[in-house]
């Protein structure tokens, strides 16, 4: 049959109309689109009943209060807790990822032992118990304990173990709390420093990164939030003095650039101007302090700190004008500062009449230890871990036979990290209680997995910087993995096996005793409530002018450039590394692939003859790192900023091998007068790669 042109066209038209009318192609397309989006390897949602539990974060150094959303028994979201004084409706970028961190690939899932060939082999808890009892038994009298938990009662158990079965060497990982405690003790104060930011109308943060990493930052930010209605003039002024326009400077009304390590001098410059304006304080050595401050004229302070004398004068004038001014001195990267810096800050608060005053600097009561032979908080704060490691390195002190680490990662987080790892190598047996396979775990002979804060019963007692005495519990809200054991009970039992008498038989008993010592009600705490107290310790502080004069002196730095580490809570800590969701917070020109970018201002770049993206080598006697250049104008001249939290050699694919660890460049020095180890000034030389 011949098909003519007309017939062909009719056929085509018929087919077209048929295709349009029949649902088959559309159904197939629809099926195809559904099928191609229902791939079995894409996870599906699992429904369940939603419930909420209030607790506190043991993961985030801000100790933020939080509400955990559970679906069935699975924690799925970490939400702010309006009713918790350490949250007040806010959450930190680190704690908000805590539910996901439960499934971090870096989690240690079972006890691990280092085999003869250096590899780790999984062992049972029975084997681990036997090995631990044998090794610690043999090392009795020479055991040191190191804790990375600043606020928990676990420190009492560990310090009691160190006192009774060891050489009395219990150390906390360095934070801002130790120099603050040392400063307060030197000035004759008791208790713990608390800053009532919530009730202050002018907050001057000298170095202290109060809106990012310093102290209970989420509670500080709640005060910041309350004082600044949208688009209106702020009710409270925030001023930040530091080398970098960091998060605090970004939120502050004024940024006063000062060189890293000169915070104390800046504070004395303020003191000079306040005294000149008639400020005084009821302290025996006021006249000695007055003569010390006399020397810190605006011109001299400007020369040392690199600031502008007029800006200094304006800040002093504003402090005098404010009703409840408050000065917070600290480190812009959360560690390494000297006691002198904090002392100078306390001195300014004394001149402003801010001691134990609403919106001022408070001396908060500290509960006595509840575990027999445990160190008091003051004794713990007096122990300087970096100094101990330095003494071992110098051969001035014998390395302990055994070291017990609890949620501490000194192999990554201490200054001169590689050197510190070498010193740890001198310790013949090392055991770590850890959640994650961190750099320190990779050096240990035995790695014991402990539950995360969401899976265990734990406590938080007055985090450093908070303006009230506080006590609350972290309650277990998620089921604990099968082969993980809570460290509290385990260490209590271990201490018993080593012949220590703790006076308590279980971890819960420790916490109950602690609650009682704090005057808190246990049942109420277990319901998720928080105990706070307005009590203060009476203060009759001296200026410790002689000590201050020595400790505040700024030493000449190595090289022509200074390093200012930048600590962002969202990028994680040494204990957590970078949480899987949080590497997206790293900015484009902070890290590219595995390559680190460091920032400097245009003038510094011109001085070095480098441009954006150029490769450079930053080095000093402690170490050397390779990086590329980013230009950011919010940095002082001759200063480079390096993001902290990078350069991990352990953990998981989200952290390992990314960038470089700035701690390699931070050289340990010792503060004149107090002898405290300090690393807030790192001088470097920079060359083109």
């Amino acid at each position: 049959m011949a098909v003519d042109r007309r017939g062909f066209l009719k056929f085509v038209a018929g087919v077209s109309a048929g295709v349009m009318v029949t649902p088959i192609p559309w159904k197939l397309l629809d099926d195809a689109s559904i099928w191609t989006q229902n791939w079995p390897w894409i996870p599906s949602n699992v429904d369940g009943a939603t419930s909420y539990v209030s607790t506190v974060s043991k993961l985030c150094p801000s100790c933020v209060g939080m509400k955990v959303r559970l679906v069935g028994d699975r924690p799925v979201r970490i939400l702010p807790d309006e009713n918790h004084p350490l949250s007040k409706g806010g959450i930190s970028p680190l704690a908000v990822a805590e539910a996901q961190m439960l499934y971090s690939p870096a989690r240690v899932k079972r006890p691990l032992k280092r085999a003869a060939d250096g590899a780790y082999v999984a062992i049972s808890w029975e084997e681990a118990d036997a090995l631990l009892a044998e090794k610690l038994g043999a090392a009795k009298g020479s055991i040191a304990c190191v804790s990375g938990d600043e606020t928990g009662s676990i420190n009492e158990v560990l310090s009691s173990l160190a006192v009774q079965a060891g050489s009395g060497n219990f150390y906390l990982m360095p934070t801002e709390a130790q120099p603050a405690a040392k400063a307060l003790a030197a000035m004759g104060g008791k208790g713990q420093l608390g800053y009532d930011i919530e009730n202050s109308d002018y907050v001057l943060a000298i170095g202290a990164n109060v809106l990012e990493t310093w102290g209970p930052v989420i509670s500080t930010r709640a005060a910041y939030k309350a004082a600044r209605p949208h688009g209106e003039d702020p009710a409270v002024q925030f001023v930040f003095a530091g080398p970098v326009q960091n998060s605090t400077a970004a939120g502050a009304d004024q940024w006063v650039p000062i060189k890293a390590g000169t915070e104390g001098v800046f504070a004395l410059g303020i003191a000079h101007l306040l005294i000149k304006a008639g400020a005084t304080a009821d302290a025996a050595d006021f006249s000695a302090f007055k003569s010390l401050a006399e020397a810190y004229t605006p011109a001299k302070v400007a020369e040392i700190t690199g600031t502008n004398a007029d800006q200094l004068k304006a800040v002093a004038a504003a402090l005098l004008k404010a009703r409840t001014p408050l000065v917070v001195c600290g480190s812009d990267f959360g560690q390494g500062t000297g006691a002198g810096t904090v002392m100078a800050g306390i001195a300014v608060n004394m001149l402003l009449g801010g001691l134990n005053r609403k919106g001022g600097l408070k001396l908060l009561p500290v509960a006595e230890p509840v575990v027999s032979s445990a160190m008091s908080r003051a004794e713990m704060m007096d122990k300087d871990f970096v100094s101990y490691m330095s003494r071992i390195n110098a051969g001035k002190e014998k390395a302990p036979k055994a070291m017990v680490f609890y949620e501490a990662n000194p192999a990554y987080a201490l200054p001169q990290a590689t050197k510190m790892s070498e010193v740890l190598g001198q310790v013949s047996f090392k055991v770590t209680f850890t959640t994650f396979l961190d750099e320190t775990a990779m050096l240990c002979d035995l790695v014991l997995p402990v539950p995360m804060g969401l899976e265990r019963l734990d406590d938080v007692a007055t985090p450093y910087g908070y303006g009230q005495a506080l006590y609350c519990l972290a309650r277990p809200v998620a089921p604990m993995p099968a082969s993980v054991k809570p460290a509290g009970d385990y260490i209590v039992a271990l201490a018993g096996k080593l012949g220590c008498s703790l006076g308590v038989s279980s971890w819960e008993e420790v916490l109950q005793a602690k609650a009682k010592a704090m005057d808190a009600d246990w049942d109420s705490l277990m319901d998720g409530n928080v105990f706070t107290s307005d009590a203060t310790v009476s203060a009759n502080l001296s200026f410790a002018a002689d000590l201050l004069a020595k400790s505040v002196n700024v030493k000449a730095q190595e090289g022509n450039f200074a390093v200012a580490p930048v600590f962002k809570l969202g990028i994680g800590t040494a204990k957590t590394a970078i949480p899987p969701y949080n590497n997206k917070l790293i900015r484009r020109w902070e890290l590219q692939g595995n390559e680190l970018y460091v920032a400097m201002n245009g003038a510094t770049a011109r001085k070095l003859g480098v441009m954006m993206h150029d490769k450079i080598v930053i080095s000093n006697k402690s170490g050397s790192i390779n990086a590329r250049v980013n230009i950011f104008e919010g940095i002082m001249n001759d200063t480079i900023t390096v993001l902290m939290g990078l350069g991990h050699t352990a953990f998981d694919q989200f952290s390992k091998g990314k960038g470089e660890n700035v701690m390699q460049l931070l050289t340990v020095g010792f503060e004149a007068g107090t002898g405290l180890s300090v690393w807030n000034m790192a001088g470097v030389t920079i060359s083109k790669a």
Binding site: V76, P93, Q100, A226, R228, F654
Partner: protein
């Protein structure tokens, strides 16, 4: 094009002066909306982020330099450029509340919407979403996981809107007259600085109503007339100036 009007119009007023760039909103958004983590997050082309915090600079040298941070969710345009270009109507602005929808099973991944969006608020799934083993247990039951090959974007946590409406209906209240704060996005809730205020732009009882009318409030690329539902507030003129392409001699609001 005339913006479609709704009785309820959900919107934000973000105070740039209060944002310190911590990123809590970005992480909260990912956890709430089941975005997957990525090993190399420095590859910004392939990173999925419904909300990004941008860094702004006044471009002056030290010491006159100033910095600001701008959180950028989907702007939920009144006349959304992404909607008109979608060949399969996978995105639409039709529901009371004025949220621009994104229907993942309908999306064919052509990415016209991404090209049309002036705010870079849309993201294409170049890769399969992969969670480390076990982490899928922390997925919320509220938002489905999107596969490779589709475009996604901020939905103003639409599931929270649905839940708030359901709650109102169960309690016998009008679901279109939710009280201020009854429905907020995850980023709003997380921000420790309170930089984000969320609410009904048409309801004088909601805080955002007044804030959107502040002399310091303006919108991103306002002169494109996309009529966005996200307002930015800053007392700093240089910040407001950067929200659109102003000439040096042009004046900005406020």
């Amino acid at each position: 094009m005339q913006a479609k009007e709704f009785k309820v119009k959900w919107g934000m007023a973000i105070d740039i002066d209060k944002c310190t760039g911590c990123g809590a909103c970005m992480v909260a958004c990912q956890a709430e909306n089941n975005l997957s983590p990525i090993e190399d997050a420095s590859n910004k082309i392939k990173v999925m982020n419904w909300l990004v915090v941008y860094e702004l600079s006044n471009k002056k040298p030290f010491p006159e330099h100033d910095v600001a941070y701008l959180p950028r969710p989907c702007q939920q345009c009144g006349t959304p450029p992404c909607v008109s270009v979608c060949p399969v109507i996978a995105t639409d602005k039709n529901e009371e509340g004025g949220i621009v929808s994104q229907i993942y099973p309908r999306c064919i991944g052509c990415r016209y919407c991404m090209a049309a969006c002036p705010y870079h608020a849309r993201y294409f799934n170049w890769l399969d979403p992969v969670w480390p083993e076990g982490m899928e247990k922390a997925l919320t039951p509220d938002v489905s996981v999107r596969p490779r090959g589709v475009v996604e974007k901020c939905s103003f946590c639409h599931h929270r809107f649905m839940m708030a409406k359901d709650k109102a209906i169960v309690e016998g209240r009008d679901p279109e007259a939710l009280a201020d704060g009854e429905y907020v996005t995850s980023c709003t809730e997380a921000c420790p600085n309170g930089a984000i205020v969320f609410g009904d732009l048409n309801n004088p009882d909601h805080q955002v109503y007044e804030l959107a009318r502040s002399k310091y409030a303006s919108r991103l690329l306002e002169r494109l007339h996309a009529d966005t539902q996200v307002y930015y507030i800053s007392r700093r003129e240089w910040v407001r100036r950067q929200l659109d392409n102003y000439l040096d001699n042009e004046k900005v609001k406020g």
